[in-house]
């Protein structure tokens, strides 16, 4: 039985490296030396990074004042929602023993406020906030329309629950005179949020641009009156509003409120001395057992004053070194035993 030679060859796979599975390959072999040296180097790196992070976190100065209880009469007033139009102010003095050098940031911090609740996170309308379609309230249940059926701008539960306390920091120059510390309202939100994601609709005149919409039920003023002094900070592009709309991941969170403006007495930061916070208490937290506080803090390259990353790296580095020494000991002991065994 003869077969034509071309018949045989056509069935053969090509003699290329790919088809014959003969591609040049590097064989990954984890030998003992590689593993042990890897563990050692990782341990060194983690310990070093941990120490650096801890040192930089220690340099941060932070002052936190929880004012839920300190302004207890205001808190009680706000528990009854009928008192919404009664203003309540509260003044909290405190003392800075050391100067806070460099840039100082003021945050408000909330405890027990679940901005990460699923229905809450969904309740917003990005097309409205981008200025594309101001009447699109489709995702904003339960704050879609006002009681007259007019669409709310900005709609949704996130916008409705905006943090509306006003916090003013004052510095006591001497026993009789106190000045307001100059703070900047701008530059507290992400650039992409302020200039791309949030955009005011239509024309220059904001009140006419927002015609045909209603303010959210919990707001005292409509959105185009958020900052009448600065048109760049009014309407949807108001930075406090943008910062609030970026929902936090955990029930305890702090959001940037103001930045120190380094002019006049404060070119080097906040000098030591006595200060006070003047708070207009509007945001009710006691009903859901939440708390709020104000935080003044300097920052370093690694962010806020959280010691977690530094500690985690140090602990990991220590454990890795421990594992390295243990594995090295085991490896050497067993190697001795093996060479003895082979010699026999």
């Amino acid at each position: 039985m003869k077969r034509g030679s071309h018949d045989c060859q056509s069935r053969l796979p090509d003699n290329t490296a790919l088809k014959q599975q003969q591609l040049p390959a590097y064989r990954l072999q984890l030998t003992a030396t590689k593993i042990l040296s890897g563990f050692f180097i990782t341990g060194v790196f983690c310990l070093g990074a941990g120490v650096i992070l801890l040192l930089s976190a220690k340099n941060i100065k932070e002052v936190e004042i929880n004012y839920t209880e300190k302004c207890s009469d205001c808190a009680k007033l706000r528990e009854n929602t009928a008192n919404f139009d009664k203003e309540c102010t509260c003044s909290i003095p405190f003392y800075l023993p050391e100067a806070m050098k460099g840039d100082v940031y003021m945050f408000y911090k909330l405890y027990g406020f679940y901005q990460n609740l699923y229905q809450y996170v969904l309740s917003r309308s990005n097309s409205q906030l981008m200025g594309i379609d101001i009447k699109d309230v489709s995702n904003c249940a339960p704050f879609k329309n006002s009681h007259n059926g007019i669409p709310i701008a900005p709609c949704g539960a996130i916008a409705n629950s905006i943090f509306n306390d006003t916090i003013v920091l004052s510095y006591n120059l001497n026993s009789s005179m106190s000045i307001k510390v100059p703070m900047l309202r701008s530059g507290i939100s992400w650039w992409t949020d302020k200039y791309v994601k949030f955009w005011n609709p239509g024309s220059q005149n904001l009140s006419s641009a927002f015609a045909g919409t209603a303010k959210p039920p919990s707001w005292p003023k409509p959105v185009y009156e958020l900052d009448e002094e600065d048109p760049e900070n009014n309407g949807f592009i108001n930075e406090d509003f943008i910062v609030w709309m970026r929902t936090a991941a955990f029930p305890t969170f702090k959001k940037l409120y103001r930045r120190l403006s380094r002019i006049q007495h404060f070119t080097e930061g906040l000098p030591a001395g006595s200060y006070s916070f003047g708070i207009t208490y509007n945001f009710p937290v006691t009903k859901f057992q939440g708390e709020k506080s104000v935080v003044l803090s300097t920052l370093t390259w690694s962010g806020g004053s959280s010691l977690f990353l530094g500690l985690a790296y140090t602990v990991t580095g220590a454990l890795t070194w421990l594992a390295f020494f243990a594995m090295m000991a085991i490896h050497l002991r067993l190697k001795e035993r093996k060479t003895l065994f082979h010699q026999e």
């Binding site: 563990f39 990074a49 990460n116 939100s189 992409t192 594992a323 067993l334």
Partner: protein, 415 residues
Amino acid sequence: MKPQSLLESDPIDDYLTTKPRIPFKIPEEVPSGNYGLVINGYSLAHALEGNLELELLQTACMCKGVICCRMTPLQKAQVVELVKRYKKVVTLAIGDGANDVSMIKAAHIGVGISGQEGMQAMLNSDFAFSQFCYLQRLLLVHGRWSYNRMCKFLSYFFYKNFAFTLVHFWYAFYSGFSAQDVNETWSLRFPELYEPGQHNLYFNKKEFVKCLVHGIYSSLVLFFIPMGTIHNSVRTDGKEISDYQSFSTIVQTSLLCVVTMQIALETTYWTMISHIFTWGSLGFYFCILFFLYSDGLCLMFPNVFQLLGVARNTLDWPQVWLSVVLSMVLCMLPVIGYHFLKPLFWPVRVDKVIDRIHHCMSHPLPPRIRTRLKHAGSRRSAYAFSHKQGFGALITSGKTLKAKFPKKNSFPFKK
């Protein structure tokens, strides 16, 4: 037949009398000497009847080798099916003629030899090649690799899915020496390396539980490390980093880096293709990430693509990358440590064989005397039988055998 088989307590007798519903498997037995069984088709016709087939199987399994000759194609298939039904094994049938087709189809794995007998065996088989001797390579090299790779894939698949899904689960509480492998030459020389496949060692319930545990541990690391990093934190310029969208991006990036490292660890042979797909898929993730979070797409569909600018704002801060690196270290080091320590403390037969291989490699033996291998190359095998005149001369002329060694074989073998 052994004397005990006449007793009522013998399991086979018990089966024959009661015929229970559950499938019956013959227990393993070790014979006291070396036996072989030769049976021809005519006798097989009687031996495969009714109750005698179990006796035949039991006897045959106690022999070192069994030769059944002069069988009809149907009998070949019946023998294979007999073994399949009553023994817990994987069967392989190899044949080259049209009369072997039923046997090839009956076995778990059918291997066809393409050659003088035609194409039928090849067309009906799972694997086909041209020489019987390639069977050794098929089993010990390709079969072993295939099993190892399948098990690695399954473990990795389940681990990756557990790691990812469980991260969601943890969030809800808050709103939420490798097996040192060997190359082909060694796997042919040490057939014991094939055993884990036979005993189903690399992916069974125990391995599944192991990768479940690994997935749970990874998910804990992948959730709590980013959470701790951003919990009370802000960026260096004071702006937000602890928001929901940034958190999810950081967790996602950590997860992808960790599982890529895991698969890099599992890959034994790194060809250009492995490099392209492994690192390429990680790079592709970042491309897709930036695309999905880009201005253009989010402006076009604002209510669908909501994460505008998150990647740009999150992924260029040192604390985020430090957290990713820490997650990678915490996930990978225990795995590497386990691969290092396991062959030392709980060596399996495979590890012991690998030890022997390493020992051989560091103390090479003098080259073996070649005469025995030469004989194997020039021995005429007895597999060919002719049912038609004219083939004998062709076979004995040696033209059908491939030259095994580049040096010319100067042993003319005369029948």
